[in-house]
Symmetry: C2
Subunit: 455 residues, 2 copies
């Protein structure tokens, strides 16, 4: 009987996160202070984050020990399973070998819990009592709600009002885990009250929700802010995915020729690929391909310039060097809410600029076609974000069918689609549509990019 | 670092189901033909089921080999993980050790897939092209939809109309896996048409949906009927749960003093406990307690008589000797849809009569209280059915806190609650209520029990 799932005993689990910063062939460009244009320093971030996380943004250490308390929580849902997709391979009649690492069995249903647990721990350790954050579709909000509960922190989530009303399940999930979730704009902050005064029926936006969460955090000594992607420390925590995958691929006696993951802010992709990229950077695996997959509706890596921009819509964050569609980008309503982001994590952007990874943009309908094929072979109904990675995995496997090559593909599967079934309904009934990001939109975005002070 | 999850390598997986029939201290009472009152024979069942499944109903073999093709599919989601609930233990401050086997990571979200895969396989092997079945809340319907897709069978699901309208996610899940799902009553069968002629707005019932699915199966040569619980062969397939758990508890170097599972038709409970009960029957573990947990709103084991009754509401099935609330039982609208059944599997009923297992009935609100405590410690948001097992697990652990005993509790966790979040919302907002089954209702049910022909 062929083995289709690779476990890892908890005693063999990685106990360190991998930090790619010291291994980069060129250093990561500095984040800049939005007021002065000078490189950002740790004290600049202290009102928002605990010092331990801030230092992880800059760390020169190749490996960072996962605290025992975090490992203990990881042990409630990790290691995640590495699957060999025999049934998908057979359906595609491909000579490729397809593996996928499935993050959907965490209690929160995605990889987001990997960093939520770590962030909650470091905040708790620094004496913080309460976390504020924003959430769009609710994936990150539910992960941080659970992370906070594990460490007895209060959690306040500002959820974009239109999602709050349309996706009550995510709100209930957060409440079940003990968090408070309010629709944004809310009367709880000045930013929210100002907006409500202007437009009582405002549906909210991620940018406004960030403003509310940040205001909440800086206005209370007991509270910090928490972010689910983009930043170096978030990608660091996610490397547990790739570190586990390395051990599991060893068990399978195999090594990936192609790595594939979806990108929004870049944390799921980074978590999987950074631990493998060191072999490419060192020259040991020069031909390994690493593919970041993004929606055609939000094509930062494939269409955006590599430049300094704000991380948020309102322009409150430091300036980050990244591929961006402009911080005032209004994403089309594709179902992959986690990929509707204007920018890209500075680490993933830098790797792309250096040619260490490549990027592909795919249209929405084709991702659901791939998702349904995956569901009908492997069984898992995937999140719309994961369907992007599945699309390109299938495409690469079909190329192998043409060439007869037996390439080994390793895909990161970010999570399940149990809360996204209306999107499948639209696809199955032919109502789902594609969106693209036009050149006109791109030109407008370029005109609105911020000036770096003093430059 | 303490180990909290016990995996099992696929090469060490059990390759046989355990059949308790030959180990029973007294033989299981015969099922009876509803027309003659004579013991049911295999040919009586042939219009509905493939002969391989029918023979499993009667098999004298202690172990039945799992076909390679079924094992291959099991390998896409099994072995399921055995968890040690350290965080729940700590929250309860108990000296008990709590383990749970979690079936919620199967692609269908529950244990139902274990038998769906096997049933689809045996039907396929007998040349059947199409399966008809009914579903209430949709848990069984989605599992058999996936099981059929794995073996390229068509699948037609008659879903109780009120659920079809209220729970579109379950319907979409079935369709994503390629099944056809229609609201019952439907115009596709005589039973459905008759009802629609009488009442075009009829909301449907499980009894009517069964009638439609059975009519569909007997009226077409290419079609068989499929049932998700109650029957011997269904419990047999579920024993993969308990067989895996035995190997995992060995790894944990532990043995359960108390086994706990929820019961509706009895397949989840039976699947876990039958493989352990042989140690009690043999006398090796005479003190082991085995507890079946049912809702106070549907208390067949704790309130019903042990007698012959129909398995369905319409009275189409053979007469089964079981604990029953009467086949015309109208269950209160508790959220644990999978436990709203009037009867109980003949095997579980027989074990209860023999005193080999015990039963407890619990009120709904207390089960959600337990479920929320579980979610806030172990992280998993559980199905309402599973919350019944969690309630009694917590109760037994709290007893250990009183007595100081370090008992080992092993619970079967039937699945996740991602599609049941509105029930959590009701609980958290104080709107959830309890239901009981009154003595008046019980008396009425006793008056309506069927007469066995010729007796």
């Amino acid at each position: 009987m062929k083995r289709a799932m690779y476990f890892l005993d908890q005693k063999d689990m990685p106990t360190k996160w991998y930090n790619i910063l010291p291994d980069l062939p060129e250093p990561l460009p500095d984040a800049l202070h939005p007021g002065t244009g000078n490189p950002l320093t740790p004290p600049d971030l202290a009102p928002l984050f605990p010092m331990a996380l801030i230092m992880q943004e800059y760390s020169p250490e190749r490996y960072i020990e996962i605290p025992d308390e975090v490992q203990e929580i990881y042990h409630t849902f990790r290691p995640s399973i590495l699957h060999r997709a025999y049934r998908l391979e057979k359906a595609l009649d491909t000579s490729a070998k397809i593996y996928y690492k499935y993050e959907g069995t965490s209690q929160a249903g995605s990889h987001k819990l990997n960093t939520a647990v770590a962030q909650a721990y470091y905040n708790k350790k620094e004496g913080i009592k309460r976390i504020s954050t924003e959430t769009g579709a609710g994936q990150w909000g539910s992960a941080i709600a659970m992370g906070c509960k594990f460490f007895d922190l209060e959690c306040k989530v500002y959820m974009v009002k239109i999602s709050y009303n349309q996706k009550p399940y995510r709100r209930i999930l957060m409440e079940t885990w003990g968090a408070t979730c309010v629709p944004s704009p809310s009367p709880d902050t000045k930013a929210g009250r100002d907006m409500l005064a202007k437009d009582p029926n405002c549906n909210g936006s991620l940018g406004l929700a960030i403003s509310e969460a940040v205001e909440d955090a800086v206005s209370r000594d007991d509270t910090h802010y928490s972010l689910g992607s983009v930043l170096n420390h978030v990608l660091l925590h996610q490397t547990i995915i790739g570190e586990e995958a390395r051990l599991q691929m060893e068990k399978a006696d195999d090594y990936p020729d192609i790595l594939i993951g979806c990108v929004g802010g870049g944390s799921n992709f980074g978590g999987m690929v950074l631990p493998w990229l060191r072999d490419k950077i060192s020259g040991a695996k020069p031909k390994m391909r690493v593919i970041a997959v993004e929606p055609q509706a939000s094509p930062s890596l494939t269409k955006g310039p590599y430049t300094y921009d704000f991380g948020d819509v309102a322009g409150l964050t430091p300036l980050l060097k990244m591929y961006t569609l402009g911080h005032d980008f209004m994403p089309a309503p594709v179902h992959a809410g986690g990929l509707r982001y204007h920018g890209m994590s500075p680490i993933v952007s830098h790797l792309c600029k250096l040619g260490l990874i490549e990027a592909q943009a795919v249209p929405q309908v084709a991702t659901f076609e791939a998702g349904v094929q995956f569901a009908r072979t492997e069984g898992i109904v995937s999140a719309p974000e994961a369907n992007h990675a599945i699309r390109v995995t299938i495409d690469e496997a079909l190329k192998c069918r043409e060439t007869g090559e037996a390439k080994t593909i390793l895909m990161c599967h970010s999570g399940h689609g149990n809360f996204d079934l209306t999107a499948y309904d639209e696809y199955l009934s032919g109502r789902l549509q594609d969106y693209t990001f036009s050149d006109t939109e791109m030109k407008k975005a370029l005109d609105n990019l911020p000036k770096v002070p003093g430059k």
